[in-house]
Symmetry: C2
Subunit: 768 residues, 2 copies
């Protein structure tokens, strides 16, 4: 099943109604502003299959853990993204029949997400069971300009009758999470009040004191003229509404506008919540829908100015990349270091938690390149703020003396995950968090961040690695036993090459940073050493590990081995496997997957991708050519890394194949699960595929390199990348690469396919 959206460079359009596509469309057409977000549910009643969801960033529920077999060390809860007050709802009655598209004859259907402007519109013509025909128009957005505000403009036009229309404009806090472990209601009522044209619902989460208030102001018009229809005022448990009843003639347009302010006690005192939301909601109403919309569009316009990628000649690719960028930008806006990028963003509930290693490994490069440094810095600060929790987490697993293990999944720094082979063993995530510090520093030159905060994080992580390895007498080297690498189709293996690699790298990097602080930030050095209670023995121990770490390697093949004894497996390329076996995770039992050679996502290759400069082209080729053919890419995070490495080794066809798998994952519902929500974090991988893959862009300390690769069958024969970090615009065609400075810098050093150039910001642009 997929939702057959139309191709368009800037819009996602569904021009037909199919009840089976509704839930997928709800995911794809989701809107948000980093603080609030929601699935594209219909405003009016809908009796068909739907997953209603409105979410508030950072407000979660610690849902009691559900496991079959408890393991010592499991967390007590899994933090769930919390479905909260439904604020878009408008129940409509046409001459006593409830409007419900599932029960109408649809005459015309048009649903559009305008990504340029961040606006969701719907135009439907339909015939009710009472033979009344109407035209429905709905437009809504969640304001990028004012983060508490969402607005709906919703109208009904009778097409073949004069009659009565009622609108019930409501707020409803009687909502549940479809992924609740024990079918609990997560919200307690605090208060609700309904007045004429106004009302609010205030609720508090159970267990944790998150308080949320939504305040609604409604306006009724007929043919754009405000109508003084006295609404029927309803007030129930966690529910308020105004019911407007009006008689309209055929062709007249009856319309309700809703201006809703929603915020939580994360941004206000409890006692201020009501006043704040009321003021914002009333003012929004005063300003009016059009003015709010304009302000919202202006923000989107500025956003696109720094992040757009243009692909000529391939609308599917163009739509795909813009959809990915749009979702990332509306999921995380980077102004609150307590927030992060949930795997489903605001498009669904599944998986819970807000933070996975995806943030550091995939998303940070995207935000660094498309936003100001503060956005990525806030993602680093998020982890720094949670360092104490990471140390506690490591202590639960027996580590001591400030060793930090960041959680697999978290909201507030506490581990939520409860699958031992992941929770306790997929520890490579810790390395990605250190890697991101380095990446940020390399990218921005902001070593001051390392001195003030980053060093604490990487020392904590290094201490973890130093305790996690042990010295093998048999090998006379350090080994790391019992881990799960990025390839989750192996569990509890010894000496996963990638984990050993990133652990050793972290130790080296931390030692380098400490040295640099000592040498170049001497004023800070003692403070840092004292703050961290850092001991000289740690230097020695870490150096000893760095120098004596074991890395599985096969001389004959010239490849790093994913783990000890990997070559005991039967190696059979995926292409030789009968297709009926795929996807493995639906067709094979877990043990069969584990003992097979098949790889879910880049593992050794993830390490080669991260530390590319350490390996010569031959090594990269050998490893790629050994591992990619046995990789099934059943993680949404897999194809992008393979695209980038395939581009690197000039395997343009493979790069293109991988790009296809990543770029329209949700739009084309490749994984058959888009109804649960979109794969937000892997969308950063699509962006990486173009920027690091096809454009071959690498940001160095003093210049930027490009090694573009355009596959032969690439329809988008010309693409442009807006690249904020150095105010560049990069244009890659089959003929070559053009780079222009958009504003700011006078000169930028670039290397294109090995040739050095100096870019001069004059008019016209000069390349020297």
């Amino acid at each position: 099943m997929k939702c057959n959206v139309k191709l368009d460079p800037w819009k996602i359009i569904l021009d037909h109604y199919d009840e089976h596509e509704v839930e997928i469309a709800e995911s794809l057409f989701s809107i948000g502003n980093g603080c609030l977000g929601q699935r594209a549910n219909f405003e009016e009643n809908y009796s068909g299959r739907t997953l209603r969801g409105s979410y508030i960033a950072g407000v979660y529920y610690p849902d009691k853990t559900r496991v079959g077999w408890w393991k010592n060390g499991y967390p007590e809860y899994f933090a769930k993204v919390l479905n909260s007050t439904n604020w878009i709802g408008i129940n409509v009655t046409i001459d006593d029949e409830i409007l419900d598209l599932a029960k109408c004859t649809i005459l015309n259907y048009y649903h559009e997400l305008d990504m340029k402007n961040g606006v969701l519109t719907r135009n439907v013509k339909c015939r009710l069971q009472n033979d009344k025909e109407i035209e429905l128009n709905a437009i809504r957005f969640i304001s990028m300009a004012q983060k508490e505000v969402g607005a709906v403009r919703y109208s009904i036009k009778p097409l073949n009758f004069d009659g009565n229309i009622t609108f019930e404009s409501y707020l409803d806090g009687n909502v549940v999470n479809s992924d609740s472990n024990y079918d609990e209601i997560f919200w307690n009522r605090i208060d609700e009040k309904s007045y004429e044209n106004e009302g609010y619902v205030m609720m508090e989460t159970k267990k944790l004191p998150f308080m949320v208030c939504s305040y609604l102001t409604s306006v009724l018009t007929v043919n754009s003229e405000k109508v003084d229809s006295k609404p029927n005022v309803i007030e129930k448990d966690k529910f308020v509404s105004d019911i407007y009843s009006i008689d309209v003639k055929k062709g007249e347009v009856a319309q309700v506008e809703k201006f809703v302010a929603t915020t939580s006690n994360r941004y206000s005192e409890n006692t201020e919540l009501l006043k704040k939301t009321k003021t914002i909601s009333n003012k929004a109403c005063e300003a009016g829908f059009d003015a709010l919309l304009e302000a919202h569009i202006n923000v989107w316009s500025k956003t696109w100015n720094t992040c757009d990628i243009t692909i000529d000649g391939d609308v599917a690719a163009q739509q795909g990349i813009r959809f990915n960028i749009f979702q990332l930008m509306q999921t995380y806006t980077g102004d609150d270091s307590r927030l992060n990028i949930g795997p489903k963003g605001f498009t669904g509930e599944k998986y819970g938690g807000s933070t996975y290693w995806d943030t550091e490994a995939y998303c940070i490069p995207f935000y660094l390149s498309t936003c100001n440094n503060e956005v990525a810095r806030n993602l680093l600060v998020y982890r720094h703020n949670q360092l104490d929790k990471a140390i506690e987490n490591a202590e639960k697993l027996g580590f001591t003396d400030g060793a930090a293990l960041y959680p697999m999944v978290t909201m507030n720094g506490e581990e939520c995950h409860n699958e031992w082979e992941i929770t306790f063993e997929e520890i490579h995530r810790n390395g990605a968090i250190a890697y991101a510090v380095d990446f940020y520093e390399r990218y921005t030159g902001d070593f001051q961040y390392v001195v003030e905060k980053g060093i604490d994080v990487i020392v904590g992580i290094s201490r973890f690695w130093a305790q996690r390895v042990n010295f093998s007498k048999a090998k006379n080297q350090y080994v790391m036993l019992g881990v799960t690498g990025p390839n989750e189709y192996e569990n509890n293996v010894n000496n996963n090459w990638y984990t050993n690699k990133i652990a050793t790298w972290t130790l080296k990097y931390t030692l380098r940073c400490l040295k640099k602080i000592k040498e170049e930030y001497a004023d800070y050095y003692n403070t840092v050493i004292e703050r961290l209670n850092f001991k000289n023995e740690e230097f020695e121990k870490w150096n000893h590990i760095v120098e004596n770490m074991y890395f599985p390697y096969d001389e004959e093949l010239g490849v790093f081995l994913q783990q000890d004894n990997f070559l005991d497996k039967e190696i059979l390329p995926v292409k030789d496997l009968n297709k009926s076996n795929l996807p493995l995770n639906q067709k094979w039992s877990w043990d069969r997957i584990l003992r097979s050679c098949y790889i879910k996502q880049a593992d050794v290759l993830q390490g080669i991708y991260f530390f590319e400069d350490e390996y010569d082209m031959e090594t990269i080729k050998k490893n790629f050519n050994f591992y990619e053919p046995i990789t099934v890419h059943e993680s949404s995070l897999s194809p992008c890394v393979h695209n980038i490495l395939a581009s690197k080794i000039d395997n343009a066809d493979k790069a293109y194949e991988m790009y296809l798998r990543t770029s329209r994952l949700d739009l084309d519902n490749y994984n058959n699960d888009s109804e649960d929500g979109c794969h937000i974090t892997s969308m950063a991988g699509t962006w990486l595929s173009i920027v690091q893959g096809f454009a071959g862009m690498r940001v160095r300390h003093n210049h930027i390199e490009f090694n573009p690769t355009l596959p032969d069958n690439w329809n988008g024969y010309n693409f442009k990348i807006l690249y904020r970090g150095n105010n560049l615009q990069v244009s890659v065609t089959k003929e070559g690469t053009d780079i222009s400075i958009l504003e700011g810098n006078d000169t930028i050093d670039v290397v294109i396919k090995g040739e050095s150039y100096k870019l001069v910001n004059s008019n016209p642009i000069k390349i020297q």
Copy 2:
């Protein structure tokens, strides 16, 4: 917390009341007869902590699986041992106050399980809140002579008053399982009827059509005279009772006797159930309590005649071994090949399922030695009957062509377990099932069983092994990847030595059996080959595996390695580990346990135990001395194997230490979980410790060997083993070993500490 029972050679006695000990005592004092069984709950109301449980062998509930993270291949349900109609219940009211020991002042308390006779008695003197003092006497048993019958004799004597006593003698089907995954009620009502002095409750399990009827006949007496007190007849949903109200004088004894017949549609047509149970219940009542009890005691007397072990001079050891034998004998009586030995027997619900590899690896030797061959044979037939399900189970995991994987936990042959590292990977269980066929055959000489049934089982298992291994190019040998050995403190390891060993042995044994059938049972050979659709290539493939299997081994240490790369671990003996770390499974997170060297239970040593004759004494010593010091014995199945091997290598102190750990596990609540029920299957291990361990008894085809070892600090300086198989009585003291023939055989060849003797059954016994 433990339940402080008194030491006694034949009885378990609790001579005081402590509310904290009640649940443990309920487990320890459990009674059963192989068909019915129950925890030692009080008959009357009890408001303190209690786990009420009455169980019916073979009647179970497929409780919907509960897991955190679903893996492809997991079963849909976990078969739960089913709490069923409470048939012992007698509510007592003394002058309008409900008798409830939790609310009384206990003046005297005596609870006794007489293991010789299988009788549970209770004598309590107490003062109620209304200051009335009474003496309560209760005696009950579940008949070994008539498997449907349970009887209770329950009396109250007023000690300091004349007054009114009411007894409500009831059957109550409104019961739940405390281990229900989703708090479901497992039973549907079919019917209930109550009459004067009689009544029944008939119920059916949800999901599966198990129908159960309990029929009750009650008799009221005062001072042993039958009283014609017209009871108040109560009938409610799944509940019937007769309420007797009588006025008694101080010192008089008011008594109710309950005669309950319970059976299921596993033994009757649905339509016959009511009639059958009514007839049995009424007849039991007619026969009377004393006559029923006598018949019951007679069966126990015969049973003890063939299984008792006498230990002079150590009452704790004597009580321990008899408790273990008693529990085994009342859990499984071997007359129904659809039944098996649940891990908690009739003493609790935990773990569910009835069948684990414990049956084959531990219990079969016990039943073979203490009962007629039919009992062990029925345990083999149980697996033969479930072969089709084992083949289906293997198919779910991708195996083909008749490969069979027996489940980890089952009731009816279907896998119930849902933890991938166990369910899918702890496949060594399959080997134990083949091993039991060989053990039975070696023991009984009954090769005809192999020809008719056993061969099908071992061929199915061999096919599984042949598909489960793969040829490693790197090692140029066969390997077995991704398994969990008996030591569950390692998961998903490669080349677990024990699993490789038992797999290879199974192939060899199966080939040997096929050869023997061909040569010695030629009439059957073609039938067998056709029935199994056996191919010649299978011979070749299996032989190739047998000849080219890889076994991890360390030359330097001279030990078999538990798995690949075991020596990468840090090896630190348990004795050098700070005690605060123990038990590991409560103190350490799972990953820490996994990467440590610590072993839960015998693994390599399990293999050496099974195939002892293949290894010389030096090899056994080296392996024992390497592995035992790093074994934490956190499985109840561990100490016995170590006791046996320690005895073998004359490490008497270690053998004695291990015996202490196994023999009073539940009586002394070593694992702090006896309130959940007793560890039934590991009780066979205690028996093995004495018979195979201290006595060093090995049954050979043509003789029996003894290599007794008595540890210096062994208080039981003289013990006798009744050993049915050859009608022997073995007596081991520090001075030597005496063996006498009890009956039957004229001569038996025995070897004692390497010296051969011929035992002649004359009077007096002659040793030649």
